[in-house]
Amino acid sequence: MDYRKCASDILTEIGGKDNLVSAAHCATRLRLVIADNAKASKEKLENIDGVKGVFEAAGQLQIIIGTGTVNKVYDEFIDLAGVAAASKDDVKQAAAAKQPMWKRAIKTVGDVFVPILPAIVASGLLMGIVEALGKIESLNFNGTAWYQFLDMMSATAFAFLPVIVAISAAKVFGANIYLGAVLGLMMVHPSLLNGWNVGSEDAIMSMFGTTSIPTWNLFGNIQIGGYVLGSISRHGYQGHVIPIVIAIWVLAKIEKWLHKKVPEMLDLFVVPITSIFLTSLVTFMAIGPVFSLLENYVLEGAKFLITNPFGAVVIGALYPVTVVMGLHHMYNGIESGMLAQAGGFNTWMPVATAANFAQAGSSLAVGIKSKNAKTKSVAIPAALSASLGITEPAIFGINLRYMKPFVCAMIGAAVGGGFAAYAGLKATAYGVTGFPGFLIITNIPAYALLLLISGGVAFTLTLIFWNEEKKEEKKIESEKTEKTVKAETKENTVYAPCNGEVILLEQVADETFASGALGNGCAIVPKEGVVKAPFNGTVTMVFDTGHAVGLMSDDGIELLIHVGINTVELDGKHYEKLVSMGEKVSMGTPLLKFDIEAIKAAGYDITTPVIVTNADDYKNIDKPNTGKTAAGSELYTVSK
């Protein structure tokens, strides 16, 4: 593959350098932020050789290129575009700045709740295992020392969830994480009533002095329409995750403002105490009661929807759409809220599983039905990944591109979601769906059935209703054939560039070539004065002197054909160039002409090394058969 060509084609199709804001890459994709998306032609981008897929997500234009090649294309790309390399985070930020407020808010929820996943998954898995063992009566596991110990262990993260959330939120909002931890700990302080035992309505009402929860009335008993000014309900916020996120946001704002205003030498004495004091007051007086109540409404609403089969059908169907829009990060907030509640289970996860597994089903069906090798090579791994819970490759790489599989997946998700609610499935953690979900689910057989239903429906429907469209592919094919009529060649093979005698590289009478310092391969003592293309590829380099030519084969071999030893000194005499840099050539195209007798007469050795210069990319370069050869016959093969 010609990385530079691929990169320059991409640059052209996104509307040139002027339209590029920043560029980064991950393991498989080029992630670009471009100023005007309308200038980029997705269809043309997809047709570029080397591009496996294109989609827009999170404000980025993501171009799938593949592991091991994306970095090379990226290097060429930034070279061509003249932009500085940006880190993934830079691109994400540039992309985020382009998004509307509500989208950024949802992204923030994801940023807070995704990093705490290890704690949640570890505790959730442990909890799932302990519960499963506890249910087996013949084991008598319940009440044993191990049971109690493990029960304590697995409940810890949930009992003190606000603290974990506080630390994560402090990182996201830029507050001091230790102050954040203090605030989180304060909200679950043991001298407060346990929040699991207090209804959030009661908490609000306590400020009006109408419930039994004790309060601290900081400003005496001044009342404004029944509201006791500065009243703090003496209960903790176990079971709530949103109040702490808001509180940390406020903390960060206050802290940053103070850092700016307070002289540096007083900073340590003034800023921490002031920011924690003010934030705590605001949190316990207002943020805590108000947002815990709101959080409860949202959770109750979500639970009502998700545990009722009709609601679950709707959520299941819409779930993939929300993934496309990037809204699904917000679900982590809902799920952790559900788990944080007293005796809480995650009832959202089964519906999410239905949606994700349906994507796997659709993508698998495309992979099986498609005749196109490229589509197959994306669809099947994407299906596997989706069955393990990572759906982006399946959604963006396959299902959404052909639309019908996506719709089939929505139907599969809806049916599966309905079943999940009907069966009352629930999980002990979040962040895990698909096959790994077996570890956190409370009813294993029903979960297996759920996978079968959602995946099966999507798979079957896709198989029936989706048909591959051929016209696009044909168009590209015909374009290609117009450009060059390609000779039939085998992959990873170098053919002889001229008639002559093949010798081993070690036999070349020049230390640099013989030692393999320039690359590996063999040499030919030519019998005729013309070098022909040894494969289908591109001319990457021709010396002005015409004594050597560099080529890149379509499958990635970089080859140097150096006619004669030290012949650079002839300065072009006796040589004639027939091609120029960047030209596409097919096997057998004449590249250089030279006068063997004249070169010999000038005192030079005409031996012509034919070597692979990117030998690092190839493990094996086969020894050639020495002796007579004719232009166009196999010289040697390489393998990775």
């Binding site: 070279d79 640099t512 310092a517 002005d544 002197t545």
Partner: protein, 85 residues
């Protein structure tokens, strides 16, 4: 990042042999070495890319060395240019 300019004195410019020797030298270090000529540039490790710059005698190249061992690599690479090119 360490940068230096070098005027090529070798009569035939950067052709296959010195490009190969340079690539070999550069591979001894972890730093990324980029050779620039005008608005074109090439990673010194990549033989073909370096040759395709078509650097001739009397032309100036800019060598950029960047990486953890750049302090060690830069003098060695500078010496290589002085001796070979």
């Amino acid at each position: 990042m360490i940068k230096f300019d070098y005027v090529i004195t070798d009569a035939v410019g950067i052709h296959a042999r010195p490009a190969g020797a340079l690539a070999k030298k550069v591979k001894e270090y972890q730093s990324k070495v980029v050779i620039g000529k005008g608005d074109k540039s090439a990673e010194a490790q990549k033989l073909m890319a370096v040759m395709s710059l078509g650097v001739k005698c009397g032309e100036t190249v800019t060598v950029t060395i960047e990486g953890d061992d750049e302090e060690d690599a830069a003098p060695a690479i500078q010496a290589f240019f002085n001796e070979n090119l």
